[in-house]
């Protein structure tokens, strides 16, 4: 089963996203900020990072930059999400998709599935594993 790391400082959203994605068959790990997300990546590999943009300690854009700079994480796709729909400067962030909050369950699941289908196989696991 693909593993998704969710980086989200709003606890309610983290809980809801975890519940929805687990119900859809994914394994979920959570982090309350960008620094905790990178620490989580170092601890064990994931297939996808779903990250909020605005977080304390380290924001989602910095997570993207750090992942791109680290050969261990370059191939892991990142989906960014934010309540700031317009005007957010994400040009310098390598990310596979952007989810403007609030989004609906179908949009979330379809985006995750599309990104995982397009991502290179990691550690022998594919999106349908």
């Amino acid at each position: 089963m693909p593993t998704i790391l969710i980086a989200e400082d709003e606890e309610t959203i983290l809980e809801v996203l975890t519940s929805i994605l687990e119900d859809s068959g994914y394994q979920i790990r959570g982090a309350a900020n960008g620094a905790a997300a990178l620490a989580g990546l170092a601890a064990a590999p994931v297939d996808l990072v779903l990250s909020d943009v605005m977080m304390p300690i380290m924001d989602g854009r910095t997570v993207c930059h750090q992942m791109q700079a680290d050969p261990r994480y370059q191939a892991i796709p990142v989906i960014l999400m934010s309540a700031a729909r317009a005007g957010l400067n994400l040009d310098a962030c390598v990310h596979a998709a952007f989810l403007p909050k609030p989004f609906e369950v179908e949009e979330l699941l379809e985006t995750v599935a599309q990104v995982l289908r397009a991502a290179p196989r990691l550690a022998g696991r594919g999106p349908d594993d």
Partner: protein, 519 residues
């Protein structure tokens, strides 16, 4: 005087004393006036109010202004409401939808949740998170929304105060101003609240209360260390523009009383364009004076006021009708029917008509609109129609006298000559009472219009009850309203007990020249 959109001298930003802190304006003009310029940089302030009083909107409006002015804002929520839902609620407000704002969000305007840190590691964890983010993001304004939730995690009252103290000390080092938004009272409103009055540098209290069919919101400064402020409650209106604060006019004026006492009163006289009335007033009203037109319904008060404006228009003086009773089409028609050409003067821009439905008005809002129009149009004559309708809008009855005194003072300072109508409730009767307390002390002149019944006919009378700084005709004079407007006739000397409205013929006066029965 207050006669500009700039703050009055005593309420302008006080320059920081040597070694003092600069001000951090809120960007909400009325609130900055009340605060004498805004908060102090590096200070810790509590904004308290029950749920629904507008704390989050106010906090966001201050945040947006600060970011748009070049500051860096950290808005930290401890509430269950998600940021996306909060943004959705703010999306109907002009300050949030300004095109310049979206590019700031995520950079100069940064939103995070502190609830996870609070749950995981309590107040120390939240403090660490806030300090790190203030430092890393070069934050100059921190808002902490839902600080009552943080208080819930405090094991002792002292622990919460220590958290606030540590936060404030750290923020001050980084030049960061901190605003705490809380539904818990600073103490007085909520017995469960930790007493933080001594810890914070200032307290703004928001409250709302039902008044008849309306909800009236107010803001009051409870404390502001290091600065004066305008005391008392001030009207808050939350609408499409966001939060708008209307400082109480009488509080504003109390702060600038010195500027109202300079200069000599004008000796120039203005008249109504009614020959008999000019004579009764010994030449007219003094420029800058305030005059009350008292009278029962239908006695001619509004027409007399329109005469005053029309005469001013003929002389090139701008006039303003400001009222709650008669909508403009009715006024235009009434004035035109008696030859005052109000429609003509309105089209020429010499007379402006401002009417507000009484059901949708707040008194402080109306006062500001009135003064704004006077300044913008450089009006010299104001006709305020229906002082009784305005006084009905006052929430606190004790304000009536001070408010109208402040309004007339401000109009006087603007060089405006003012007429106000006051409706007397009874058509006839042995007593004459001004229904609005304090009016007679506030106005320089009082004209009294009324009906008198004599031999089964109604007659209109006018008299001058009071005229400060001038003599005046003491006689009661009959007046008529016809297609040419108001004309003043002879005295009503043949009747007595006239002021009661129950006239009796003077014995032996029947058949005399002044006997109206002979007309």
């Amino acid at each position: 005087m207050l006669s500009s959109h700039a703050m009055p001298p005593a309420a302008r930003p006080e320059p920081p004393p040597p070694g003092g802190f600069p001000r951090v304006p809120t960007g909400i003009a009325g609130l900055d006036t009340i605060l004498h310029g805004g908060f102090f940089r590096g200070g810790l302030y509590l904004i308290t109010g029950a749920p629904g009083t507008g704390k989050t909107i106010l906090g966001n409006q201050i945040a947006v202004h600060h970011a748009a002015a070049g500051g860096r804002v950290l808005f930290t929520s401890l509430l269950s409401e998600t940021h996306s839902r909060m943004f959705a609620h703010l999306s109907s407000l002009a300050f949030f939808t300004d095109p310049a704002i979206p590019p700031l969000i995520g950079d100069a305007l940064y939103y995070i949740s502190g609830y996870s840190a609070l749950q995981t590691a309590g107040l120390p964890g939240l403090l660490t998170l806030l300090q790190a983010t203030i430092r890393d993001r070069h934050t100059t304004l921190l808002l902490l929304d839902g600080v009552g939730n943080a208080e819930s995690f405090a094991t002792t009252n002292a622990a919460f105060k220590e958290f606030l103290h540590s936060l404030q000390q750290y923020a001050e080092l980084y030049g960061c101003t901190v605003l705490l938004l809380s539904s818990r009272g600073e103490r007085g409103a909520d017995r469960d609240a930790v007493d933080v009055r001594t810890t914070v540098d200032g307290i703004l209290r928001l409250r709302q209360r039902p008044v008849q069919t309306r909800i009236v919101r107010e803001v009051q400064i409870v404390k502001l260390r290091g600065s004066g402020y305008l005391p008392g409650g001030h009207l808050v209106v939350i609408g499409a523009r966001g939060v708008v604060v209307y400082p109480r006019l009488e509080a504003l004026q109390a702060a600038t009383v010195d500027t109202l006492t300079t200069g000599a009163a004008s000796l120039e006289r203005l008249d109504f364009g009614i020959a008999g009335l000019t004579a009764m007033l010994h030449g007219g009203l003094f420029r800058g004076s305030a005059t009350a037109l008292l009278g029962p319904p239908g006695s001619g008060k509004t027409l007399l006021g329109l005469h005053f404006l029309a005469e001013g228009a003929r002389r090139g003086e701008g006039g303003l009708y400001f009222g709650l009773n008669e909508p403009p089409p009715v006024l235009l028609s009434a004035g035109d029917q008696v030859g005052l050409a109000i429609t003509h003067w309105a089209a020429a821009g010499q007379i402006a008509l401002a009417w507000y439905p009484a059901t949708a008005a707040d008194l402080d809002v109306l006062a500001q609109h009135l003064l704004e129009q006077v300044r913008a149009r450089r009006v010299q004559r104001v006709f305020l129609d229906g002082l009784d309708a305005f006084s009905d809008l006052i929430v606190d009855a004790a304000r009536i006298g001070p408010f109208f005194a402040a309004l007339t003072n401000e109009l006087r300072a603007l060089g405006v000559t003012t007429l106000v109508t006051v409706e007397l409730p009874h058509l006839f009767g042995p007593t004459v009472e001004i229904p609005i307390e304090g009016v007679s002390a506030v106005v320089e002149n009082i004209l009294f219009l009324r009906y008198v019944e004599l031999r089964s006919q109604l007659y209109r009378l006018i008299s001058v009850l009071k005229m400060r700084r001038s003599g005046h005709d003491l006689a009661l004079r009959q007046f008529q309203i016809d297609a040419t407007g108001i004309t003043i006739a002879d005295t009503f000397a043949s009747a007595e007990a006239i002021l009661t409205g129950l006239a009796r013929p003077v014995p032996g006066a029947a058949g005399g020249a002044a006997d109206p029965a002979r007309r």
